[in-house]
Subunit: 487 residues, 2 copies
Amino acid sequence: MRAFTIESEKSDFQYLRLANEIESKILGGEYAAGDRLPSLRKLHKQLNLSISTVYQAYIELEKRGFTEARIKSGFYVKPLLRNVLPSPKFEKQKDAIPKKVSINPVASAIVEAMSDPKILQLGAAAPAPELLPLKQLARTVKSVSLKNLESIMATYEHPAGNIELRRQIAKRTLGFSEKIAPDEILTTNGCIEAVNLCLRAVAKSGDTIAVESPTYHGFLQLIEDLGMYALELPTDVTTGIDLNYLEEALNRNTVKACLFNPNFHNPLGYNMPEENKEKLAALLNRKEIPVIEDDLCGDLYFGEKRPATLKSFDKKGLILYCSSFSKTLAPGLRIGWALPGKYLTAVKRLKLNTSVASSRLNQCVIAEFLKSGAHDRHLRKMRNALKNQMSNMSLAIARHFPQGTKITSPNGGLLLWLQLDETVDSLKLYQEARKHSISILPGIVCSTSDKYKNCIRVSCGYPWNERLEKGIVTLGRIVAECRGIYA
Amino acid sequence: MRAFTIESEKSDFQYLRLANEIESKILGGEYAAGDRLPSLRKLHKQLNLSISTVYQAYIELEKRGFTEARIKSGFYVKPLLRNVLPSPKFEKQKDAIPKKVSINPVASAIVEAMSDPKILQLGAAAPAPELLPLKQLARTVKSVSLKNLESIMATYEHPAGNIELRRQIAKRTLGFSEKIAPDEILTTNGCIEAVNLCLRAVAKSGDTIAVESPTYHGFLQLIEDLGMYALELPTDVTTGIDLNYLEEALNRNTVKACLFNPNFHNPLGYNMPEENKEKLAALLNRKEIPVIEDDLCGDLYFGEKRPATLKSFDKKGLILYCSSFSKTLAPGLRIGWALPGKYLTAVKRLKLNTSVASSRLNQCVIAEFLKSGAHDRHLRKMRNALKNQMSNMSLAIARHFPQGTKITSPNGGLLLWLQLDETVDSLKLYQEARKHSISILPGIVCSTSDKYKNCIRVSCGYPWNERLEKGIVTLGRIVAECRGIYA
């Protein structure tokens, strides 16, 4: 069963096809953890491929986190991520009701501490600088002529955003729906400003917003700031919100809008199945309820193709799509965007009243980079790196955390969600970890309830190294110590 | 009485002292419009100053808008701005009540059209690019090393803002109160984001905010967006809000916060007298009512010294000071700041939740420029230019507008406020002017009432030229045509 069937036709991507085939054999269980892959020479003869093509495929698999090279011995299969630890499981809640949110004091303190470079940052959902194309971006800044720089700074940018950047974004979002025109796009100061403006365009103080449970703490903070109520929907760790439950909840409650993150959900990491997205969009279109879709990590998929967006199933312009370049290009540039559908005018007006326009300089730099064509190449590399980092992090957690730890196995993004022994109080754990200069995100800030009291979110944004390994060893020890004592 | 008393001591600034002395003679009425100033040779002998020093003083006066050179004839005194046309006058309103605001549809359309370069922009309160130090700023961008650019873009900036920029701002605000530390400052995406965050920190949907009447339309738009109510206070064209009226209004109404613009008020242009500021701060401190102070144009004074801020009289940390670099350095960079007093934590949290942080690149560029020491030199030049532009604009309006036109005579900033014949509907006037590719701001968007229906705001951001002169001729003709017909 281990025979390879690669056709011997000439192609630059032979190595990729070979890597894909071996990957599916590993995923299918034909190769187990610890198995040695065939030697380069053997596959070279068997498949009539050059030694260098086979070698490239093996390097690709290593980048993807499936194999490791051992000196003078060959390539070995690493333990599979998805089989390492069981998935988190939560009891289904009954009859969720809209709740006032008050997580800001805790969440703000945690988020503010995230910028301290002395702390091992397992809490912040940010990619490591070495994963970003900063050299090219810096060169792009340098290449702008003095004269252009002057005119870039001289006047306010158009409130809807730099037209060249909107053209580039429109090009890249061709697959979303039949046609996205630059005029349908609005650029913002990062994804969170996009979400903020969209939320304010569709709901006001006192209104109820349906969210996934758990959800991104930033969403709850926004809802709190805007005096709105959160209705938390039961959410499966691998498929997302329960559609039947949602329909019932919409009948029971007056929900003004939904705020969802269907692709590589923060914090759960799942990618909602395409048929669920289609049903979800249809249901909310039918009920005329606007949905704000956060697709911040949609480009960071580990599989074969980019997951579909909820927006692509929108027939009525009721889905307000939000994303940004903060996770894929440069957090420091603060550029995101929205496709607000039929709420475009309202969102544009709010943008104008809130910050006039986003910085033209930063928008021009990103537009130039996108035009250069380097973005897809960069994203391919980044996805491989993240996949590998997440695999290493999962394995380290499996090695060093107490028995009973449950963990998600996302197919994209950069976040892991851990369910610890139910006696662990993650806020105490957070405080203990901080004493050891380690930051994590306690589950308590991802909900209005204390349902995720024993959960934490861990970021895999950084390439694996000794410091990270040591950090996970320490964290595992603290988790063990926290068991029971705060129960 | 026309003798000059300059002492003959050596100084680089002799020319400035001479210019100041002549200026006060003009202001005091010793020289009238049309008078010829003494010849260079005469003053050179009389004051024992070099010819070039006297010449410099005359050029300085020309820059300030007091004189004009006539070829082969000498320097002549121009008509004095403040005597050109009478000041606008409004009936005092009685018992103002909080009102819901709904100016957004009109105001947004007007503001959005302001970015069209084909239109003569008399509506937008923006300085001409040639008044800004864009060359130095562009060179500052260019001078950042590749390595620094990389690290600037790699991570989120601190939510409170770039520390070097906050240090520079703290240095420049030494005179505000006893000590401003960088930690008390928060940088934002322009002044309007600062005002927005401060307003949200002190009030919520349904609350009443006291504002000047007329006020900056952007404030009303914010109040509308946030579901708040506006209480418009009677405001004198030269001294600002009526303090007795304010005290009564505060007794009659539950005012949650005030939103004032005491220096070079938008749109009235007045600079509130220092004793009024002191009384105002004391009154609101006593009543424990927070005040958001917009000081956007405080650096653009035409007189001898920068006007005091309301903040400098704040004893309780209840004044939330807001400003920006958009009017003085570069609108395109979108960097402003706030000194939120005792609301610092709340404002910081809102900033984090709204846009994480402002762009580090743009903040670094401004910090470098401020460090270079070029800012004060630049501001001196810019103030002279604006004073001259405003003088030219006022004179042109006096020449070309129908009799009965009233006009403000601001001592700083870049805005004029015109009260036209009471039969003129400024919104119709706006529409007629747009047909001739001229943009103005109709007074209707500066109030929840139609009290300023026959007023318009005109910006003096651009150096005087033939296109502007022609535009004013056209506008004057349209004003004349609009009289009566819409009554």
